[in-house]
Symmetry: D2
Subunit: 341 residues, 4 copies
């Protein structure tokens, strides 16, 4: 239930206010060079605290390699990485045990797990676990560089960027809107992958869109995904939407399909966008139900939270995208089982 | 690669112009009454030929039970259903072997399978296989009726409807637009499920949205999916978007979340929308590349096709939704392994 | 629940006295030539009726290709094969509905599936389904021939032979013993695979032995499996049992390990043996419980049965072995996704 | 590749001389009480150092709970347990890098993972990881106690015992034989489970024997498995081997089947035996190939090793058996998703 992938396969675990969060990655080819330094750029990108609008909780987020790495290279055995939770203030949450925060998993977790869930900071239902996704993404991205250049063209790069914050394409303005309103705000993030080979994905259940969407909805706060022209395609004529094939490599004149046709990558740029809801925790007072009193009461989030979680999504979106693509690349035998560099 | 689900698990096979298409369903509880009649309503809904805008290819679509049913009830063994392909005119396609149709899987299938693919009518990449999804959906829907009333409230119904055709909420107008333009057109379909119990889905990789989106993107022509407020949530403040919990069952004042929080159903109506691209086959002439001559040429679809594939999507969308929900219900032990009615 | 394998993945279905039995194989590379003729040798080997000691029920066992094959080659899409059941005499079984046959699955199937199971001829619990395994085995064996000669040495052959019948190495004598006793009898079958490359299998859960044993116990009547020296190893000293490595390819002086060390193939011949119990149906009168009367009664098998099911096991054992090995070969990228011959 | 189970699902990781070994268990119901004390009996049983014939390497083996436990109960989230490796003397192994030990995975690991494997103490191919299996077994055993008494009779106990050491039923004598010979020796271990309900397991690929054998061959040094009468059944007549059903619960007069018929448990005691090879490391000098010199040389194991690994197998065998049974019990809904005790 907590795993993803067929060959390159990840399993996550941990809680927001437990000792650590972690991930085990199975199916990593042997011989991939891997050091702590490789993780720093992406873990930095994920961390809050650096920019306006992100949470003041800052963790070191140094990946602790527990298995699967030897002499700074992967061994082919399962690779486990932990991130310690150091900067914890659980008392913020314990006070409000009986008051499920609106928009959070508090209520559903309580019902699903019978009250046995670790509720501190959302427990297992915490954005903290995206640190693990990002770590696996770093490895997946490195694996994608191993794909032969003949297949990936000039360089296969996974890149996600924020398109809008609070409906505004000018991101700082969108963010300021939330700060002014003392509220949180959502956003839209786009992911693009250039130079993918033709043929990733399967007809129907393992379509590239199915696998990507599956992984993307594992990211907290994602409310929608669209490929290529996406929802706008629903308003188009077929003659407008169809992409004319122009050469034998499959390049098309337009790219309304966003790089996937029939569930299979078609050599054009993979493009998809995701909708990120506003952070559920907001400084504004809100209503919710108190389990103990069974009365609706006003609720005001203390804790430390992002005003705009979308700011931290790009690197996580890149990570799950890279995880899915690495798995598909291995299935297509574009990444070998042993990497001799 | 062609399977979906963990306990209630489906496998599809077959080609558009082969002998048949089919599905094997594993994990069906024993004792579920099942007759050909149970399938007729939904298979009728999926079939073209009855309404303006759908393809004149009409198949009987009588489900042929090959295994797993005995004395009109399921046996607990794998259940296989075939649909024969009778009304085939492959010559339409064979003429155009070297000309991949824009928007279709012809090109990617050719590259992925090295030219060995059955290209007639799209082969395995055909909307024809949705007959199998619909059949599995019929069984899944029947299983959902077995969920105890204490869990599903007044009746758990999966219902998809078309919201727009060609950008128009007035469906006939949207359709007429396409007919007038001698073109195809897309649409938006919404799916709603009332009275779901709290607790379906898992944190992260098996979130309800992950599993539903995975299944939904297996439907040909889907380009996007959004839950609840979806993409509009990206423009909202947190205080607007959060749904205030009003009672101990988890009912919320608003339902911007669309019934899923933290990846888990929260007892409110499950709501999601999908974007359907315009049918790739359109009467309008289009450009594509001829593999043999390596020249771009004009292309005009003969064959028989839908002007608006979105018209046929609702029943398929219901089917994959029911399949996912039935699997989750079995995982949560809301559907027993033996049904004694 | 009815599937096996990770990339080369099989799903079986059907009942002994239903319309057909069948198998869907996923993950078959495109381009593999495949005709009915390829199946005849192995399906013949599996069929009863030809030799002393096997059942007089004879089916044509012509594989009916329903999907995944086009122009006599595999397409890369799921491949479904059916075998029709023609030669059925269900009345033999219906008479004895309330009397579970000793050694058969009648009782457990009735309990597990609440009486809804198709009980005719054992229903889904029937040796008849091994026809499907054999068919998948034919395809798997063909795939193994695609492995590069540099990896498989002089030719990778999967070959199973009967070592004993009824405790006798002289097979005809062992069989005659059963005929004389008007009883059924068991046997031991050995499977050997030469020229396997090093490196198939994984440490722990997906050890080569784990995967092979898993598949082998899917064959009805198997009661044990041992690799290399097997149970005899339990009586040996380490210095006797260890196989000294003699060259850089990993060839060992002895082969007590049977070709697998640490769960991984080591380039030496893969050798394992399976114990086959005597056919449960025997002409001898036996005791069992009548469900209706709740009294123990004498029971005499009518129907048509094998005196020694072990006679029919070798080709099935080869099949499941080849299925497992083909899957492992694909995982190690020794078999490509497209076969251009 | 390093996971086992469908609902109750385990993933192991770690290396013999790395920082730790560990296991993540998914699908554990919420609410199961769990403390370090629950693990001590079984981890003690697994540890060497206490009895003649087992290795002097002794680890504390205190389970470190990293996730999935809160307030001494399981939360329903993935549960990760680590065991630190403290007592390491890697230099023993580094000296002999070029000399693969006979009977060990050194050679195959080197070939499979291209020399990138962690070779110290066998790396990931180490009996050390059975500590993780035992830990999961403790949880699985606790889960089995939750099965309603109506289903499990007087108490469902998984119990493995040693039947023979070095061919001798008198265990101390068998062990002394090895000590006298300055050699290692194998053994036979039997596992029995009383009071299992009818109906665990599936026809064919997920037969109870398939799943158990799969798990059992994940235990290092296992060379064979047999159920009930096992290999001896191959010498029997059907009328001898068949177990006459005596009552409506399915109890049989004899139990040659070992509690499984048609792949399904039949309410009689589950009985199977496994053959354990002699420890590969033995004080006796042996021949092997030196990779660097490419010459056969004499080899003498230093390190610290068991004379008879079979002595440590029972608790591990119980563990994997309990893991498989817990998974099957959850599939049959005999263990709920939330445990309220």
């Amino acid at each position: 239930m907590n795993s993803l992938g067929r060959i390159f396969r990840v399993n996550i675990f941990g809680e927001s206010h437990g000792e650590c969060v972690g991930i085990t990655i199975d199916g990593v080819p042997a011989g991939l060079p891997l050091t702590v330094e490789n993780f720093l750029e992406d873990t930095e990108r994920r961390k809050g605290g650096q920019q306006k609008g992100t949470t003041p909780r800052v963790e070191d987020d140094i990946p602790l390699f527990k298995s699967g790495i030897f002499n700074k290279k992967t061994t082919g055995a399962p690779l486990t990485i932990l991130f310690e939770n150091k900067n914890i203030r659980s008392s913020d949450y314990q006070k409000q045990r009986a008051v499920p925060r609106p928009g959070h998993a508090d209520f559903v977790a309580h019902e699903k797990f019978g009250g046995f869930e670790d509720y501190r900071g959302g427990g297992h239902f915490s954005g903290r676990l995206t640190a693990c996704l990002v770590a696996a993404g770093v490895i997946a991205k490195k694996l994608l560089t191993v794909v032969p250049l003949s297949l990936q063209g000039e360089g296969l790069g996974v890149r996600a960027t924020i398109l809008e914050i609070g409906g505004e394409a000018h991101l700082q303005k969108g963010l300021q809107k939330a700060i002014d309103a003392k509220d949180s705000v959502g956003g839209i993030v786009e992911c693009r992958v250039k130079n993918l080979p033709v043929g990733l994905g399967e007809p129907f259940f393992d379509s590239a869109e199915s696998l990507l969407a599956h992984a993307v909805f594992a990211i907290p706060a994602v409310r929608g995904i669209e490929f290529g022209t996406g929802f706008a395609a629903a308003k188009m004529f077929g003659s407008e939407h169809n992409d004319a094939i122009e050469n034998g490599e499959g390049k098309t004149k337009t790219n309304h399909a966003g790089g996937v046709v029939g569930g299979i990558t078609n050599s054009n740029e993979l493009i998809f966008r995701v909708a990120i809801k506003p952070t559920s925790s907001t400084p504004k007072a809100q209503q919710t139900l108190n389990w103990e009193t069974n009365e609706v009461e006003n609720f005001s989030v203390k804790g430390r939270h992002d005003l705009c979680i979308a700011l931290r999504v790009p690197v996580v979106l890149e990570a799950v995208t890279a995880i899915v693509l690495a798995d598909l690349m291995m299935l297509e035998q574009h990444i070998p089982r042993i990497i001799n560099s």
